[in-house]
């Protein structure tokens, strides 16, 4: 099913405990928990998941701190070689996409389905532009003979932005699944948990980048 399939199923399964019955034989249609418990449970689950994501990147940030203390010169040089303009553009794009996903969450709570669709589309397009920019950055580096193994700075640069990029793709997949279900009319002001926690995930993707950008691009 692939990583996207698993992730989208994962998000869905956090979002819809109500669809779940303990046996495929005996679907009696009774929900086990009331809607409030579902909503709160899904949110708590997502926050815990975000904590694991922070710790995943925490390893990279720890490595960054240690090696930057050890090789300050290398980090200055390396940082200067990165494209600050492209990095800044990407930062603005991601922050903007965080705004649009937040608007989508607000809009679904007010049942403004059309606005939800627009905002999710804009968010996904922003993510795609971010990915394209990143592609140009990477290929430019490769063209100059700079690879992940060149030195410790580029090891961290490629590992951190690469793992972040993976999260951008997963986020796009999640938002894509949500968007498709919006078109199918699955969500309303009474049922918006999935969009809310999908939005939470996207904010995390943005947040990680907000830390990566100055640490990698601006220390030079």
């Amino acid at each position: 099913m692939g990583i996207f399939g698993i992730t989208s199923k994962l998000i869905k399964s956090i979002a819809y405990p109500s669809e779940m019955v303990p046996s495929i034989e005996e679907d009696d249609g009774h929900h086990h928990f009331d809607a409030v418990t579902e909503h709160e449970g899904a949110k708590l689950g997502m926050w815990l998941f975000l904590a694991t994501e922070l710790l995943l990147f925490g390893g990279l940030f720890a490595a960054y701190a240690i090696y930057r203390a050890k090789y300050p010169e290398m980090f200055m040089q390396g940082s200067k070689s990165l494209d600050v303009v492209l990095g800044s553009v990407n930062t603005v794009i991601l922050i903007f996409s965080s705004l649009t996903v937040a608007i989508a969450v607000k809009a679904i709570q007010e049942n403004r389905i059309k606005l939800v669709k627009i905002m999710l589309w804009v968010t996904i397009i922003c993510a795609a532009i971010f990915a394209v920019n990143k592609y140009f950055e990477y290929t430019y580096k490769f063209g100059k003979g700079i690879f992940p193994g060149t030195d410790i700075f580029y090891s961290i640069y490629f590992a951190a932005t690469g793992v972040h990029m993976l999260h951008v793709f997963i986020g796009m997949a999640v938002l894509g699944v949500l968007l498709r279900k919006v078109y199918k009319g699955k969500y309303s002001k009474d049922n918006y948990t999935a969009i809310e926690i999908g939005g939470l995930y996207w904010h995390l993707v943005d947040l990680i980048w907000i830390y990566l950008f100055p640490l990698l691009y601006l220390v030079g």
Binding site: P22, I24, E25, G41, G45, L48, L55, L56, Y71
Partner: protein
């Protein structure tokens, strides 16, 4: 009762699909139990081969390379496929909703996906056996980067298993927050649930770090990243720091659920309320917290600064405090109790005895000067096995027997089970106590060959594993042949919620969500007499 008309969870649906696609937490727990059982047996066979190899110095049955593969296989399978997911995923899944008075975990589908991820991780792990790793279960750099073995595949398998572990942890935490029955306040929560809660916290907070570590290791082999490579300015010791930042808390992922099991069994067979309920509950959380701060004690001889060593040593001693609190509370629970030596109780008592030996020898290793002498010797191997087998596996076996009637709806032959217990207990001590002695005499771990003067101790140790093997086969054979007739709902006269329903429970656990009005361990009080 009308419940007798309702199908129990085992009978409700037959065939592969009804199990593999179920979202019933009890069935998922049972599937985990089978899966970890299979891996446990495979990994145990590897250990019997390892011990047989040591009957004589030099080659006995395998060559040195095969030996390296065997101990890697034994260690990594036992850790990642059996003991980390082991008790928490199997008994945790089966028991938590029953104990807190819920119809299922809060994310039942996610629970099923966690199980699938576990199977996927195990499958990837198995594929790696085509070019089996010889790094030991710790995958230390630089060797893990240089070896020709299939390190990428096996570490990716562990990564996927970690994902499964994280999702199970999230599921349990949210379940315990949101789905406790009315009146099931935190200070009435069964201690197994407290232990599972602390375990889940560790799974959620520690596993991502090993996730990124293994990703970086894969990146190191595949893309030439330089994090752990001195040639590129990296540091192999950083791998050890990252690895143990997870793997030390993981030790408590392994042992905490077993502590929870013992806390459940003690009061039932001592017919007394558990002594120091709150102390045991908070000790679980304290252990979880402190376990994040002690990882450096695995690296006392790695060239860490002396100051750091001292700090890690002191904190390591601190983790013994909540652990000892638990042991003393269990002992006090027994004091003046009306003790019934059932099989589950015997395993629990053995747990206290063996775990105390394992825990105290851990302090030898936490002491800086002693560790320099004992580091990477059989003393470490013996210490670890006293904690992991004497602790976790004995707790696991206790649970297998204690909840057997609830899980399978049948009773087992107590007498044969007790004989098996005696064999396993004696065999275990014969196998592993000599290893303490060998370690202090300087026998290094993970060595294929050894000096002739160690042979007698090695032979005793190997004979011990054979006794364990016989005991284990007897235990398994006995459990596979339940006594005729249906198990009563509550054969031990226990007061916790999972015994309030039929054995085995119906698919939906409770017809109506119960309301809890009393503490769980009110044994020997007016409530029990009234029953």
């Amino acid at each position: 009762m009308s419940e007798e008309q309702e199908k129990n969870y085992l009978d409700n649906g037959e065939g592969f699909r009804s199990w593999f696609f179920t979202v019933d937490h009890k069935r998922i727990g049972v599937m985990y139990l089978w899966a970890i059982g299979v891996f446990f047996i495979v990994a145990a066979i590897a250990s019997f081969l390892l011990r047989a190899e040591h009957l004589t110095p030099g080659p006995t049955i395998v060559n040195a390379d095969t030996y390296n593969v065997l101990f890697t296989l034994h260690g990594s399978m036992m850790v990642f496929l059996f003991i980390v997911p082991g008790v928490a995923a199997s008994f945790g899944n089966f028991l938590i909703p029953l104990m807190i008075g819920a119809k299922d975990v809060i994310f039942p589908k996610l629970n099923l996906y966690s199980f699938w991820l576990y199977l996927a991780g195990a499958l990837i792990f198995m594929l790696a056996l085509a070019a089996p790793a010889d790094t030991g279960w710790t995958f230390y750099t630089p060797y893990s980067i240089e070896t020709g073995a299939n390190v990428i595949l096996i570490t990716f398998g562990v990564f996927v298993l970690g994902f499964s572990s994280i999702l199970t942890g999230i599921n349990f935490i949210v379940t315990m927050h949101k789905l406790r029955a009315p009146g099931m306040t935190w200070d009435r929560l069964p201690l197994f649930c407290w232990a599972a809660y602390a375990t889940s916290l560790l799974q959620v907070l520690a596993t991502p770090v090993v996730g990124i570590t293994l990703l970086l290791l894969i990146g190191e082999r595949y893309f030439g990243l330089g994090f752990f490579d001195p040639a590129k300015g990296g540091d192999p010791v950083m791998f050890q720091h990252f690895f143990w930042f997870y793997s030390h808390p993981a030790v408590y992922i392994m042992i905490l659920p077993a502590m929870g099991i013992v806390s459940e069994i003690m009061p039932v067979f001592a017919r007394k309320p558990i002594f120091g309920y709150k102390a045991i509950a908070y000790a679980s959380l304290a252990i979880a917290l402190i376990s994040f701060l002690v990882w450096g004690h695995h690296m006392f001889v790695s060239g860490q600064s002396k100051l750091v060593n001292i700090i890690f040593s002191v904190i390591t001693y601190a983790v013994a405090v909540p652990t000892a609190i638990k042991v003393f509370n269990w002992l006090w629970t027994l004091y003046k109790g009306s003790i019934e030596l059932s099989t589950a109780m015997l395993y629990s008592l053995a747990f206290i005895f063996l775990f105390t030996i394992g825990g105290l020898t851990g302090l030898f290793l936490g002491a800086l000067a002693a560790d320099v002498h004992l580091h990477d010797t059989y003393f470490v191997v013996a210490h670890m096995h006293y904690v992991m087998i004497g602790g976790t596996v004995f707790g696991f076996f206790a649970a297998l027997h204690f909840w057997y009637p609830k899980m399978w709806g049948r009773m087992f032959d107590e007498f044969k089970a007790k004989i098996a217990f005696v064999l396993i207990f004696i065999g275990f001590n014969v196998a592993f106590f000599p290893q303490f002695i060998m370690g202090t005499l300087g026998m290094p771990r993970r060595y294929f060959n050894y000096a002739p003067e160690f042979q007698s101790l090695h032979v005793v140790s190997t004979y011990g594993t054979w006794i364990i093997g016989i005991g284990f086969i007897l235990m398994l054979w006995n459990l596979m042949r339940p006594l005729p007739g249906k198990a009563p709902a509550n054969p031990y006269n226990s007061l916790s919620l999972e015994w309030s329903m039929d054995s085995p429970p119906g698919t939906f656990n409770f017809d109506d969500i119960p309301t809890v009005t009393e503490p769980v361990y009110n044994y020997g009080t007016k409530i029990e007499e009234g029953a």
